[in-house]
């Protein structure tokens, strides 16, 4: 019999209460309990970045965070960027620069990029590359992703 716990947190600007298994990670809660599937499972051990979300404004791998640890926090997923003009610019840049192919890494990549842009840590392309080092992409070879982020952050080579 697994242990359950009630938590309350802000998800994409909306307060909500959820009952979660104490062993569950935030990724499974978002996808399977709440039904927001934009956050992707890629590896389940914090190596690929496909499940990147933002918690209290900081990006992290939701597969490595216990769902119960969302209690009292402010959580943003890719769906939460829908009504955000800064994020719109980033999303448009990914589309226009050809940074999306199969698209499976894209939500995580955008969550990470959004964090980088907002925290001002992409002044040049090298820092963008370092900033997305934890996000794997098998299709694009990263170049167009870096170009897309640079176009929004105004990074120079």
């Amino acid at each position: 019999m697994s242990l359950k716990h009630d938590i309350e947190f802000t998800l994409n600007g909306i307060k909500r209460r959820v009952t979660v298994d104490v062993t569950m990670n935030a990724l499974a809660m978002l996808r399977d309990v709440i039904g927001l599937t934009g956050t992707k499972y890629g590896c389940g051990e914090g190596e690929c970045g496909a499940c990147t979300i933002q918690v209290d404004g900081v990006s992290l791998n939701s597969c490595l965070m216990f769902a119960v640890d969302c209690d009292g926090r402010n959580v943003t997923t890719i769906e939460g960027l829908a009504n955000d003009s800064e994020a719109d610019a980033l999303r448009d840049a990914f589309v226009e620069h050809g940074a999306v192919q199969c698209g499976f890494c894209t939500p995580g990549m955008i969550m990470q990029a959004d964090h980088l842009v907002r925290s001002g840590c992409c002044g040049d392309t090298d820092s963008i590359k370092r900033g997305i080092e934890g996000n794997l992409c098998r299709c694009t070879g990263y170049k167009k992703i870096v170009d897309a982020i640079a176009s929004v952050s105004g990074a120079q080579n």
């Binding site: 934009g38 992707k40 890719i78 199969c102 794997l136």
Partner: protein, 804 residues
């Protein structure tokens, strides 16, 4: 706007071809709204999980599923004994989805569970008890072909799948094998003995290519459901839905007409979804037994263990040339590690022998492959399909031969490079060929020849960082490949009352951007903006037949098919307009959503208005067309000769590296590529294909290594299997050679596989240029490079298994 004003309006000529067109599904994907198979759930759905072998090679003495069946929430537990109609699957039909009596590799499927939740299914797997009796493990293909080696497939596999299959009268589906040889390939043109006699220089070297795997970011999955009438609906990640429809029908002993495959967007393909794997058939068995929809998803660890790999190859190449730089012969023996079962990996010689016989002009060529069973993971198809392995050997020998005769390596290649109009010893006919342009463009833009000299001169100077530059080129099919009875693709095109067009294509989209490029081709014909098109491409109940995504064929084959359907629609529209406006069809054209006068561009009528008039008249009609395109290629004969593709793609890549001689670390600093793509259709899309392929090639060369020890995979995770990350990517300078292929859609040829093919070969040449030391084995990890630089790597030598 009045009618008079409209008529006065002139639409300027414009073209979508060569533009940077964003991928049509990118906004959905970038918003997290795209529903991949992982994101789809059906009501009443159960979750399937597979119990895999705890041993590498063993007899299964008993399986006890009673405790698992008793677990609350478990609906179905199956083993081979529960599926008496199991049939062997795979390219050689040597493989039961649920293993019968014997396991042959770490990934082998023993039992499967369908339960209310994934957690319950996993808990049930832990309750299944299996008793094994170990057998000797063969993990080295060289051992597998030694006399007296333990056999991997000694017993016949019955078509009914049960132990009873050995009894008299049972249909035998797979006879078993008296040795461990799964497949052999033998090809020849000319006379290599004569070729060798004419040679001034002869080289012989052994090359060793390793295991890597696709690492699609989206793990494998399937959802299967039988309806009340017994019809099967699958949500599948397949790249070849129409071939699989037929094959699944065979495995389930059902009518293919009753199988429907829906393909949700997939999280990467790269060739991995070209064969049917045991999990897919097992998912169907579970759904059939449970009478409920069953969803099965891999974990990342399972994805490593149980999805296909690139084919590991041991290869000995003997080649020669004359002093004047003329190539004389090539003799090749390869030993392919087939793994425990046969998938497409065993058939990579189809592509490899083309590279040996036809990349350069070689008058005499002799090629032999044996793909042998081991207890290792089994190899499938992977972008490039054997060409990375073949090119790795050939292009190193090109440098080495050039050095032996004291010729510039670029000049040596140019002297032997193919030209348009040539037909090779293997019967491949090059109607368009930009190979020499690729060579000179990549060399010029990278300043190759100067850097080669400069790096050699700098080798002995002080400092631990040595710079190197290396070149390699490739030939690959670029106009489909006639492997199946048809290499065609069908298109249905319909136009609505508002001049929007729906393109219904057989071509699958796996992230490569086919939906966008096909839309461009249709809109170009019909003079419509990209916003006027919708693509339907993922449901076998709707889309016309296509052979599938393989052989870099989609743009060429599906593109020609889409153009064919669009041209028919255009002809019909212009005929209607010509009649209505009392002029010749040739006086009219379509542009910008209007029917215009061909010469002046003056607007005649809005296309949507014309279509509505056609629709809402007494003799009402809609504009709907179909087209099936079959390329003018031929099947190879029994000697593997024939013009198997309607066009061939060429490319040259120059790789620059920095080698740290103190640590063995190789940093790839720049890749300069020149690709003969026929014509650029979508510049944004083709750049993305090339860049992604280059970095995939970089991983193959430097970082990726699926480590198998005694049949056990040591690194089934992203922590220890190193994909290239963003900070490691090289600077990329990509040029396109537009040879305007006469048969290609708007002149284009295939490019999907091309960019990953040359990188490892060019990197080997770059390391040799930097250090004077040749690397014959991949990957170029710091350990291997350090050891080789310090003389600690024994020279590879493999004597071909087959008697000369």
């Amino acid at each position: 706007m009045s009618v008079a004003e409209k008529k006065a309006r002139v639409i300027q000529p414009d073209s979508l071809i060569g533009k940077r067109i964003p991928k049509m599904d990118a906004p959905e994907k970038a918003s997290g709204k795209t529903r991949y198979i992982h994101d789809i759930n059906l009501s009443g759905q159960l979750h399937g999980k597979i119990l895999r072998s705890e041993r590498i090679h063993a007899l299964i003495k008993s399986i006890d599923t009673s405790a698992a069946k008793a677990l609350p929430g478990v609906h179905v537990v199956i083993t081979a004994a529960d599926v008496p109609d199991q049939r062997p699957i795979g390219v050689a039909r040597d493989h039961f989805p649920l293993k019968v009596g014997r396991v042959r590799s770490e990934r082998d499927e023993i039992a499967a569970v369908a339960a209310e939740t994934e957690e319950i299914a996993e808990a049930a797997l832990k309750l299944i008890k299996v008793v094994y009796e170990d057998l000797p493990v063969i993990s080295n293909p060289e051992d597998a072909i030694k006399p007296g080696a333990a056999l991997i497939h000694p017993e016949p596999h019955g078509a009914d799948g049960s132990h009873e299959h050995l009894k008299q009268g049972t249909t035998i589906a797979h006879k078993g094998k008296p040795d461990n040889v799964a497949m052999t390939f033998d090809y020849a043109h000319g006379d290599v003995v004569r070729g060798e006699a004419e040679s001034d220089v002869v080289l012989e070297d052994t090359f060793k290519l390793h295991y890597v795997t696709h690492c699609c970011m989206g793990v494998s999955g399937m959802i299967a459901e039988f309806d009340a009438s017994g019809n099967l609906l699958m949500y599948s990640n397949t790249q070849v839905p129409f071939l699989h429809k037929r094959e699944f029908a065979e495995y389930l002993n059902m009518d293919p007409a009753r199988i429907r495959i829906i393909q949700p967007p997939i999280g990467g393909g790269f060739g991995s979804k070209l064969d049917i794997y045991p999990f897919e058939v097992i998912c169907l068995y579970l759904a059939r037994a449970a009478k409920r929809p069953v969803k099965m998803l891999f974990t990342r660890e399972e994805e490593f263990l149980a999805s296909p790999t690139r084919q590991p190859v041991l290869l000995t190449l003997r080649s020669g040339c004359k002093k004047d730089g003329t190539l004389t012969f090539r003799q090749v023996h390869t030993l392919h590690d087939n793994g425990a079962y046969t998938s497409w990996g065993a058939t990579t010689p189809f592509v490899m022998m083309q590279t040996f016989s036809s990349l350069y002009r070689v008058p005499h060529c002799d090629y032999h492959t044996a793909a042998v069973y081991t207890n290792n993971p089994y190899a499938g198809s992977f972008r490039g399909y054997g060409n990375l392995q073949a090119t790795f050997a050939i292009e190193q020998h090109m440098d080495m031969l050039a050095e032996k005769i004291g010729m510039d390596p670029l000049a040596f290649r140019l002297k032997n490079a193919q030209d348009a109009g040539e037909t090779t010893g293997q019967g491949m006919s090059f109607k368009s060929c930009g190979f020499k342009d690729c060579l000179t463009t990549a060399a010029t833009r990278s300043d190759y020849s100067r850097k080669v000299q400069e790096n050699v001169a700098n080798r002995d100077k002080p400092g631990n960082i040595k710079r190197g530059v290396g070149m390699a080129s490739m030939l690959h099919v670029g106009g489909g490949a006639k492997i199946y009875p048809s290499d065609g693709c069908g298109t249905i095109l319909k136009m609505d009352d508002f001049a929007n067009v729906t393109l219904i294509t057989g071509a699958s989209e796996i992230g490569q951007g086919s939906e966008t490029v096909l839309s461009q081709l249709v809109c170009e014909e019909l003079g419509l903006p990209m916003s006027a098109i919708t693509v339907v491409n993922n449901d076998t109940a709707i889309t016309p037949w296509d052979v599938g995504v393989h052989a870099s064929r989609t743009t060429f084959i599906a593109g020609n098919s889409a153009i064919g359907a669009a041209k028919k629609a255009k002809t019909k529209i212009l005929a209607v307009a010509a009649k209505k406006y009392d002029c010749a069809e040739s006086d009219l054209d379509l542009r910008g959503g209007f029917v215009i006068k061909a010469g002046s561009g003056e607007v005649v009528v809005e296309l949507s208005k014309l279509l509505r008039n056609l629709h809402f008249q007494d003799k009402a009609e809609l504009v709907m067309t179909t087209f099936y395109y079959e390329p003018p290629s031929v099947h190879q004969d029994k000697g593997f000769k024939g013009d198997v593709s309607a066009a061939y793609a060429w490319g040259t890549q120059v790789v620059e590296v920095e080698v740290d001689t103190d640590t063995g670390t190789v940093r790839m600093t720049k890749v300069t590529g020149a690709h003969d793509v026929g014509r650029v259709l979508n510049r944004l899309g083709i750049e993305g294909q090339i860049e992604g392929g280059v970095v995939m090639g970089q991983g193959y060369a430097l970082t990726e290594d699926l480590m198998i020890e005694n049949g056990v995979m040591k690194n089934p995770n992203f922590r220890d299997y190193k994909l290239v990350t963003a900070p490691e990517i090289p600077e990329m300078d990509i040029s396109f050679i537009e040879s305007m292929d006469g048969e290609g859609p708007q002149g284009a040829k295939g490019v999907g596989e091309a960019p990953s093919i040359c990188i490892a070969a060019a990197t080997a040449n770059a390391i040799a240029n930097a250090t004077g030391v040749r690397m014959f084995e991949l990957p170029f990890t710091p350990e291997r490079v350090y050891r080789t630089l310090h003389g600690q790597t024994p020279k590879l030598y493999w004597k071909p298994w087959k008697a000369e």
